[in-house]
């Protein structure tokens, strides 16, 4: 982020807050920076860059499924490596890192009226540990045997057996990379949580925080408690792989040879993995929920419907998501009563989630809807999340899950609900906050092209995939060959999906081009182009300089959603604007409960 209008040390000495860190050189300003905004951009750029790699991997997989043998360098081993890396990168290194490391770092201090995170140095370490984790992951391509092909769930025993690609060193690097990610994330997560709890400006009570912050806050708390499970699983698997222990590895005969392992439990790994893995779904969904609430409210010029309910729903979803993990393990041979318990908890989560969806729709109801790119993406998210959630009701039931479990239906379900949906929010959020980050608007034509191709294309990819799944087309297969139960039309559908995937992927290049092009050529945006109420739009400079708010921190006088207040001069009242809302006759309820 280059700010040409302000000298580097314009504000360095002005703040009364002596403990604020001040950069002294180019290196500490832009590279080893402790400013949350710079760290946010570092996180986001790294995540988007590694995400492009995962996108290309998905292209290659689709090519193999539609045109087997066309790309000769894709053999079975390569295919499994692509699957593994695509899944792991997208879930952990792209979406989690971008939502929490990217948006969390940028938005938490700005939205709460803080100068920075509470532990800036630890925050910086968090990014560099994350980058190291990414580099270790990428490094596995350059080792003998390549990256691991164990699938993103890394289930033992196959993850470390000799016929799995990448078992020489790829799996070790993968586990080390995950361990580093967890350590790095814990450092960042401490910052996000403690900043929300302790770093808010005067008047910013918890119930005045924008829902974006609520979503990121609860997601971070969940991540802090859930990631240790991944950490433990990875460390124990490293022991199994490198030291020959038998935490997860049962007695096995491989190529006629008895392996040193004995008596371990692969199911133990599954429990640990999914104890992390299911909260992970909501770790990416809750920030998306929060951001979408803010986008919808701002671009429909209406206060969010049921703010309290939205907050409670976020908290309840966060808590419930810790007691549903075994619904990923219905086919692991567990006790049917367990399955029943986990099916019940799984379906209960639909209640708070549905409350959120209704509230979004009711926020839109009779709103002044501006169909600009952030709003389009937000609307697309709601539709997509509902669609993905509905197939979740299928899969949450044990009897339906068992036949569908190993089919493309599951692939379609989780891509809709935790792939496409959160990424639509990421796009919407980038279109929304890019003007604040750079001071310029993204190009609108390119944005609309990007939106329509991505949104319609994603449906054309993943809707047909449900049908493939119901037909019984298995997932994870390198090639299906001549299987009698698959009609020829299944293959035609596969070709169609691949063509759509290539087109949607290409549309992302338009987005990346727009991001880079608009830094210099975009329309200047001014400080508050969306006429929004939250504090990040009220900074004296755009982009916000070091310290965010100039000499005085803003004081908060109202909640974050005072849009279209009847009788007010403008259709939005910023959070830091003093004074009470004008009384008016049409809404008598507003006056009844007013506390002195």
């Amino acid at each position: 982020m280059v700010d040409a209008t302000h000298g580097p040390d314009a504000h360095a000495a002005e703040f009364p807050d002596v403990e604020l860190y001040h950069p002294r050189s180019w290196w500490t300003r832009y590279v080893f920076s402790q400013d949350a905004k710079v760290i946010a951009i570092q996180y986001a750029s790294t995540a988007l860059a590694i995400g492009m790699l995962a996108l290309v991997l998905s292209w290659l997989m689709r090519m193999q499924l539609a045109f087997p043998g066309f790309l000769t360098f894709i053999d079975a081993a390569a295919y499994y490596q692509f699957i593994t890396m695509h899944g792991m990168i997208m879930v952990i290194y792209l979406i989690t890192a971008l939502f929490l490391g990217g948006f969390g770092n940028y938005l938490i201090p700005l939205m709460l009226g803080a100068r920075d995170m509470v532990f800036p140095y630890v925050n910086m370490l968090s990014y560099w540990t994350y980058l190291l984790a990414v580099l270790v992951l990428v490094a596995s391509w350059f080792t003998p045997g390549g990256p691991t092909g164990a699938g993103w769930t890394l289930y033992p025993p196959q993850a470390i057996l000799s016929n799995t690609p990448g078992q020489e060193s790829g799996i070790v690097l993968m586990l080390v990379s995950l361990i580093l990610f967890v350590i790095g994330f814990t450092m960042g997560g401490l910052n996000y949580i403690v900043t929300v709890l302790q770093g808010r400006t005067r008047g910013m009570t918890l119930m005045r925080m924008p829902l974006t912050v609520w979503g990121i806050f609860i997601a971070t708390v969940m991540a802090m408690l859930a990631f240790p499970a991944l950490f433990v699983a990875c460390v124990m698997m490293l022991f199994d792989k490198l030291l020959g222990t038998s935490f997860f590895m049962p007695a096995l005969v491989e190529m006629g040879e008895l392996l040193p392992h004995d008596g371990g439990s692969p199911i133990l790994f599954q429990h640990l993995f999914w104890f992390f893995g299911h909260p992970e779904v909501y770790i990416v969904a809750l920030p998306a929920f929060g951001i979408v609430s803010d986008l919808i409210s701002t671009h429909a010029r209406k206060n969010i419907f049921g703010y309290r309910m939205m907050v409670w729903a976020i908290v309840i979803i966060g808590a419930l998501s810790f007691v549903v993990w075994a619904h990923h393990m219905y086919v692991s041979g567990m006790n049917p009563y367990f399955g029943f318990f986990f099916a019940v908890t799984t379906l209960i989560i639909a209640v708070p989630t549905a409350i959120k969806v209704y509230n979004w729709v009711l926020t839109l109801w009779r709103g002044d809807i501006h169909l600009n790119p952030p709003m389009l993406f937000a609307l697309a998210f709601i539709v997509t999340f509902v669609n993905g959630g509905l197939t979740g009701l299928f899969l949450g039931n044990v009897v339906v899950d068992v036949p569908l479990s190993d089919t493309m239906f599951v692939v379609a379900h989780f891509h809709m609900v935790m792939g496409v949906a959160p990424i639509l929010v990421i796009f919407g959020a980038i279109y929304h906050w890019y003007p604040k980050i750079t001071g310029r608007m993204l190009d609108n034509t390119m944005a609309h092209l990007h939106f329509w191709v991505t949104f319609l294309g994603a449906y054309l990819i993943f809707f047909p995939m449900h049908y493939l799944g119901i037909m019984g087309v298995p997932r994870r297969y390198f090639e299906s060959g001549d299987i009698s139960f698959q009609p020829p039309s299944a293959h035609d559908l596969n070709i169609f999906i691949t063509v759509m995937a290539l087109i949607v992927g290409a549309a992302q290049l338009v987005f990346v081009f727009n991001l880079i092009w608009s830094i210099r050529h975009g329309k200047p945006s001014g400080g508050n182009p969306w006429r929004a109420t939250t504090l990040e739009w009220q900074t004296p400079e755009t982009p916000p300089v070091h310290g965010n708010f100039g000499r005085e921190l803003p004081v908060v006088y109202r909640w974050a959603y005072d849009y279209s207040v009847p009788g007010a001069a403008e259709d939005f009242i910023p959070q830091n604007q003093p004074g009470t809302n004008p009384p008016h006759s049409e809404a008598p309820r507003k006056r009844k409960g007013t506390k002195p």
Binding site: A114, V194, Q198, G203, A229, G244, G263, V556, Y557, R558
Partner: protein
């Protein structure tokens, strides 16, 4: 998994208790004007650091709760052969306890603004902790020498895993303690190190507690206790 469930029930209870006091039932759309009661970060960063440590301990607690859960699940699988507890563990436990007591004593010295005692306390705590770590390494070499290798039996593997991870956490604590030491010998005086000592003492107490739990696990009492509870229930 019952250990994990218990741990998370405690965390959920704490979170619920805290949330219940946060006025989550107010109607923010009706309230205009400044509402006081938000922590003033510019005035003091100490509360933020305390809260930060609290969450770090929750994460570490989650880590060891999950390890304990895994320990019990793996233990049920039949090939488990408990290993003898090396006697030096008792000495190590005493060292960790002494280290923790030394830090409590240092805290008292800070309150009395006694710089000599403060420095002495920090050195003592550090030395005791280092002795603890050395003792743990000795326990490893002793076990290895008598044939209890890491890949021999899951009981051995767990022993090395949990003591290793616990040791790494003590090592991390020693870095923080070293930082407190640097400040104690610096020009800032006793007051500058007050919070460091306080946080270290809390961390040490927590790691001592974790060690007690782990030791009861490794010595087999925890298993006896669980078996006893299961008997009561069935």
């Amino acid at each position: 998994m019952s250990v994990v469930v218990m741990f998370f029930a405690i965390i959920a209870g704490l979170a619920g208790w805290w949330l219940a006091r946060q006025r989550l039932t107010v109607k923010p759309w009706l309230e205009q004007g400044v509402i006081e009661g938000v922590p003033d970060f510019a005035a003091s960063r100490d509360p933020a650091k305390r809260v930060g440590l609290g969450f770090l301990l929750a994460v570490i607690g989650s880590l060891f709760a999950l390890l304990t859960g895994a320990y019990f699940m793996r233990r049920e699988l039949g090939d488990w052969q408990p290993l003898p507890v090396p006697p030096i563990l008792w000495f190590n436990t005493a060292m960790l306890l002494a280290s923790s007591i030394a830090l409590e004593w240092t805290q008292r010295a800070v309150r009395q603004r006694n710089q000599t005692q403060l420095r002495f306390g920090l050195v003592a705590a550090g030395l005791f902790a280092i002795t603890f770590l050395a003792g743990q390494l000795f326990a490893w070499s002793e076990l290895a020498a008598s044939g209890y290798l890491v890949d021999g039996n899951p009981a051995n593997s767990f022993f090395y895993l949990v003591t290793g991870l616990h040791g790494l956490h003590i090592l991390g604590g020693l870095v923080a303690l070293g930082w407190a030491g640097i400040k104690a010998w610096g020009r800032g005086g006793v007051d500058s190190v007050r919070l460091n000592v306080e946080l270290c003492a809390t961390y040490w107490l927590f790691m001592l507690f974790v060690w007690m739990v782990l030791l009861s696990l490794l010595a087999g009492w925890a298993s006896d206790f669980v078996a006893f509870c299961q008997q009561l229930l069935s």
